[in-house]
Symmetry: D2
Subunit: 480 residues, 4 copies
């Protein structure tokens, strides 16, 4: 959750508050050295019990306007950043270079010495002139290492405290909101409604947050334009389909070392996330069943070779249950009671609502923490269910998000912020918009060189035949 400060620069002054897929943090030039990005394997042996809220920490410049777990890990983080940098995935650097061009009317202060992917959006926005503050949106689905007003193990109360610390700063006010989940937007609506006077727009990247925005819009309560970047094509395909195709395998392996070949798996939901999970597991030799509520997605599951079932038809026989619906209570106690011994249960979908974990916290069941993010829930007859990440997002809790995917998402967000900030009066009203197709295409084109991919250009004759501009957009807005 980011609240952006007002922009000090004439050409493009964006001020942002942002939270992201466990990846984004405030970027101030003077905070730079404190950036913490630790590898999945990192374990801080000196973890203590003091709440970060009670710690007095300062970065090397003596500034203390942040709140994280342990600033001493900064050097470690910097090295990880440099490793990530080697991956050369990030195409935001292209954006930064290009952003100095007149098209976006933004001034580029300098080319930063290149950032690691988790920093990439913030550093870029800063390079473009923004001043940013941020907090984590979701108290569970983030890792400890990459937060400024955030730490692993935040309580509900800590969470809102962090958001408030981001927003409520003397002598500073955001003019853009970059949100993920809608909590920041909600908080400002509730506590600081006057802030919207200076806010030019909201960029939101989550299903939930977008859903909330559409509800606000329907209710006539949306008071600034909002950009739904969740449904941009590249974001959807990469964040969901392509990313989850890999992270489902990674998350399951890291937590359980399970062999996929021959396993029976039921995947609840056949949206982009479900499609990615199913494709990966099928390729690894699993037998996959799908549940769906939407007949269109259901029919696609059939055509892709998956039996479409109701959960209870297969619950007794499956080895792994994966939820990807975005819904709540998809796997309930009744289902869990019927699973066989050793069944692995995890959530790739949304927040922590899909599996009714609360129903497992009853006296007759014993919980045993067997590894980080892995609990055995033990029935009176000795049956054990292997619950991953306590029902929170497996891909965020137990896997890593490829820098390439982060780059796609962050570039999309940055372009959306720039578009809303720079749009001429009247282009956007108090409504929810999809990212303009041309920008979506631009994000994609920035990432093609990574694959040494060579795009074909339309000839004049072809462009005319198709009635298209040679530079796009190439498809109608509804195209996916």
């Amino acid at each position: 959750v980011f609240v952006a400060l007002e922009f000090p620069f004439p050409a493009m002054g964006a001020a942002l508050l942002q939270d992201g897929l466990c990846i984004l943090f405030v970027y101030f030039e003077h905070v730079r050295k404190t950036n913490l990005l630790l590898p999945a394997s990192y374990t801080d042996s000196s973890d203590d019990e003091t709440s970060p809220r009670d710690k007095q920490q300062k970065n090397s410049k003596g500034n203390g306007d942040f709140c994280i777990k342990n600033i001493k890990q900064a050097d470690f983080g910097r090295r990880e950043i440099e490793i990530a940098e080697q991956g050369k995935h990030s195409r935001l650097s292209s954006l930064r270079i290009q952003s100095s061009e007149p098209r976006y009317h933004c001034k580029q202060k300098k080319t930063p010495p290149l950032s690691s992917s988790p920093q990439v959006l913030m550093e870029t926005l800063s390079a473009l002139g923004a001043q940013c503050r941020w907090a984590a949106c979701n108290i569970y689905s983030t890792q400890n290492e990459t937060r400024v007003f955030a730490w692993k193990g935040e309580s509900e109360d800590d969470f809102w405290w962090c958001i408030d610390r981001c927003v409520n700063v003397e002598g500073w006010q955001p003019n853009m909101i970059l949100d993920d989940g809608g909590d920041l937007t909600h908080w400002i609506y509730k506590k600081y409604p006057n802030m919207f006077k200076k806010i030019k727009g909201i960029v939101e990247e989550s299903v939930t947050g977008v859903h909330r925005l559409y509800q606000l819009s329907k209710a006539g309560k949306l008071c600034v334009p909002a950009m739904n970047v969740n449904d941009s094509v590249t974001k959807q395909k990469f964040d969901n389909l392509y990313c989850c195709r890999e992270s489902i395998l990674d998350g399951l392996k890291r937590t359980t070392d399970v062999m996929f070949g021959g396993k029976q798996v039921v995947v609840c939901g056949y949206g982009e996330v479900g499609k990615g999970c199913c494709a990966a597991l099928k390729a690894m030799g699993s037998i996959v069943y799908v549940t769906e509520i939407d007949p269109i997605c259901a029919l696609q599951a059939c055509m892709d070779g998956f039996r479409l079932v109701k959960l209870n038809e297969v619950i007794r026989q499956v080895d792994i249950v994966i939820t990807c619906t975005g819904n709540k209570n998809v796997v309930v106690r009744e289902n869990l009671d019927r699973m066989k011994n050793g069944c692995i249960v995890c959530n790739m979908g949304h927040s922590n609502t899909e599996i009714d974990v609360a129903s497992l916290r009853t006296p007759e069941l014993t919980w045993e923490r067997v590894r980080s993010q892995v609990d055995h829930v033990i029935w009176p007859d000795g049956k054990r269910i292997v619950l991953l990440a306590e029902g929170r997002l497996l891909n965020l809790s137990c896997s890593t998000v490829p820098t390439f995917v982060l780059s796609i998402t962050a570039t999309t967000q940055a372009l959306a912020l720039i578009e809303l900030y720079n749009a001429p009066e009247g282009r956007y009203k108090q409504d929810v918009y999809l990212l303009p197709k041309k920008m979506d295409e631009y994000v994609a084109s920035l990432h093609l060189p990574t694959f040494d991919a060579h795009l074909t250009e339309l000839t004049d004759e072809q462009a005319k035949y198709l009635g298209l501009n040679k530079n796009g957009p190439f498809k109608p807005n509804y195209y996916r």
Copy 2:
């Protein structure tokens, strides 16, 4: 191209003009016995040179208001229909049964003794009370057997003659147009503009036809509502992705018996058709390269494991060239000159524009017809290019369209016709509309039983959580 007569029935009077994917024909009860649907293997040894326009033919009831090649094949066709019927693919029968329900306010005269898939739309519409006339839309991409005002080998002139015969009937006027490619619409605009006074809407299923409608709309010349069914999700996925995934293999095998394993293939265009072709060939062990103009599709090709190239990078080394762009002159003489001996060239995309076949009709090149739909074009040095279907659509010319896919398309068209016909005044203006999501979902749900697929239903609590109606629509309109 179908021209539907006015409806005699109060509840639902639809009048239709329709052309289809080489599959649809006029259905009159008394013409029924003349329905001709011949298998791919059928060859009429008694084919003669007389133009169908000059033949005097009558069906068993003595009616002569049709124009086809040879009515004597009717019995053969009827048997094929009965075979198709066994497939039980068609879900339009479900629609017919349901159509007697009050929801669609249509009167069902009777349940027809079941139709074969090619007839399915027409028989259904007739069962729903419509009177239909039809002609083929494309003089090349159709097979001989399934036309009424159409036959294989129509000249350009024959083509427009057929359309005119459909439209220009004394004492009859259509109130709905079901078009595929826009030629019928174009013809009425040009020749019988007054007809639009009684026409309630146009349903169009092709890329080209939809493109024309959007252009009419932009130019302010669209004088009735039009429904773009080409971009309905089920239609897109089935007609393009799922159908082409199978027909590319089928079409190539039937014409060339080529082995796919180890072959190098370049697929031009990575839309739904290209995705289907690439997936199938990759699965069969081909090495596939992709060309694209749209960076979003290009990036998807990369992520799906295909090298994105410009055509000339690989043209010398590939064994097969497949066009799926919807564009023109994608493969030109210069490319053809550089292909290696034995290279197979075919078009899965659009009409006959993608491969510049005209450029091959030059004196220095020799054409040799080696099989039906297969030409060898021979260069002076002896190099042979294997050109399939003279650059027309391989999937229509050299393969078959599964009845299941036909059923999806036809159901979509039927629902679109019904919706436009029955919509209350004012719901649709003089613009182009996507099929309402709920109808798209309804089409899908009608086809699920084929796969013995069991849809999950939302609980009240879940529906409330998602803000959805339990019966859908489940996704926003832009969702694909």
Copy 3:
């Protein structure tokens, strides 16, 4: 089934009897113009009822020592041969060129103007100096067009008559047998046992034939060396795995136009053929079940993502049943009785034993021939089972074998013949042998250029490290 005459040439005199995968025929220079190879689409409208045995036919040279259906089709066949030739699949031409080298001590009379794939083995052997005669081995699984002492629709009696006509020729005696199925070997054992005095060896390529040879060997009755080319690695992989991966789709499409996506299929047997069928159907979106008797193959099916079931567990729900076991009575009447309406039943395995077709020829069931190779068997309640090729091999009856695969098989057979013919006294005893690994590798290496594939060569140091000769063999004999 081929009977080769004695060789007139000192360097390499091979005399062969051969039958092949519907592809091989006698090659005499003067019979050449009579070679008939018709495309799958060919239908002879002038087919008459006269038995070929009663016809007096002569080729253009006036020779009548052959027996086929209609010599008038020779020109048509020649054109098909030239088409096949364009494919440039055949690597036997490499062999022919190389065969003039001292290694094989064979004299090459001339380079034939290149042959089509079906002729490739015979033309090559002739080019190497062999005189050949042949007959079809299996009265059902062959197409009409490619036989000399063979025609489509032979009776059991015709079949043995053809074999006898091949073998029993005055003034001529074979010195090598090239068999497929063992019928020719069986016939000579039974009728002309003295012939074995001059025969130097048997090359056998079928499972059944090999099985019979091993039984002869066990019983001590094998009186010449025999080469089991069925189990050479390249032959196994190409004839079975790679070929069937494509022909299962092709055969099903050409006969039934069935859509694969979403279909439920049970494949009986998970050997190489079964693996090919399963992989292809899975890739096309079918849901595939497997039955197996061998736990090793069964476990592989599991790991490849297929549910391992007993046939009766799924027989009521599947849309397609495919047998690939090499066994008999795998699908029996009881199974057929339980199948659902429209279920397609076909055999990819062995001969015509796998499906108990005889059990369907009972009065209460009606047979309806709906297309060539497609019968509907109709139960009293109206249920129809779609039986393909009357239970004979789908891949031979309803599909085509790629020339590349034919080339692999034929090259293997040719090398085996040459090896047995030229082997020094004592290398081979009266036993059954696998093709030497080095020859197996040689066959493969001859076919690599087709794919523009570049083999890496061992350095001296690496060869020493591995204890291998730099030219192979690279693997132990048991390696697959």
Copy 4:
């Protein structure tokens, strides 16, 4: 490397020397509580610099006849064992139960309270009455946690010291050798040749060890029977194909978090390991090239859809290089010099010979350890190569081996030990043998229930038709 003590039990006294895939250790009932099996995520913060050889450690029973890093981790290990146990993968438990049956004439002392997969072989052998000692075979490719005479970071000297400690024990002598790599066998040949008088056989599971045994056999120096279990079908398929299909993804993710989609990868070697790696990466959307020396494997790579190249053709463009050849110096300095910045290099094949890592230890290159098992090797121009596990086996160093695969391997080894130990005089001579097919099938059948897989049984009629025993073996020995 295990050295088994003489058996105290009449029925089956096995004495074993064993080393394993980093998984096997000595099992003594009284050492049980010291079993250490730590998860991949485990990091001992109290690791010290003292060599285990200098530590005095005792288990809870006061016994000190072992040598590991830190016995204090025993409880942690026991919990991991119990987690593994939940997986219920292990089918050795079946063996244990069955082993009490007369067939194997072994006495089962008790059913152990169930073992974790790493212990499974040793516990089973102990349960069967064996006394075992063991050491690690390879100083690099093992993890710290699972050794008794072994620890992570052993020097060459430590390694041989451990072996010697295993072998050289007063009052004890092995009668069976279970080896992995041949080092133990080599050591006994060299130092204690007299031991072979009491040794009844060697069971060897590695490519290298088997190679050494065949060389001994050729040289006439093999003085006891040896069983090559490396080439048993189940072992090959699982240890190599199925295991590596998963571990290549797992190993790369855990070390580099690389996204696979769109990556260009070259896999050196297309044996079972290469096939597994290629299939997995292709499925994840990588573009895969293959190098091969064996034309048979090369042709398979082509047919499976991979371009067959020489390494230098693609070395400049690939993102990942994976070796799976079993050879040495497959990737040499010249190749490394040409790789692009950020290229990942790893070894899935054999030992640490495939990548010439020594050539990278030159002054002009800088090494930077960025994570555990991940080094950046930095060229003077700043180019970085990401070297994993210093060129040792990625799947052992950076991934985990699924318990199911361990169970397959261990069951195979146990059956081989039992077979050699119990074989009647004369069945096995001083030669190298493949595991009898029937036992191979038995291993597979023991593991089928894991997948709820239902094997079909031959009818009497079918068995007779095939000439098989109804209980197998079902395939000839050369079948793979």
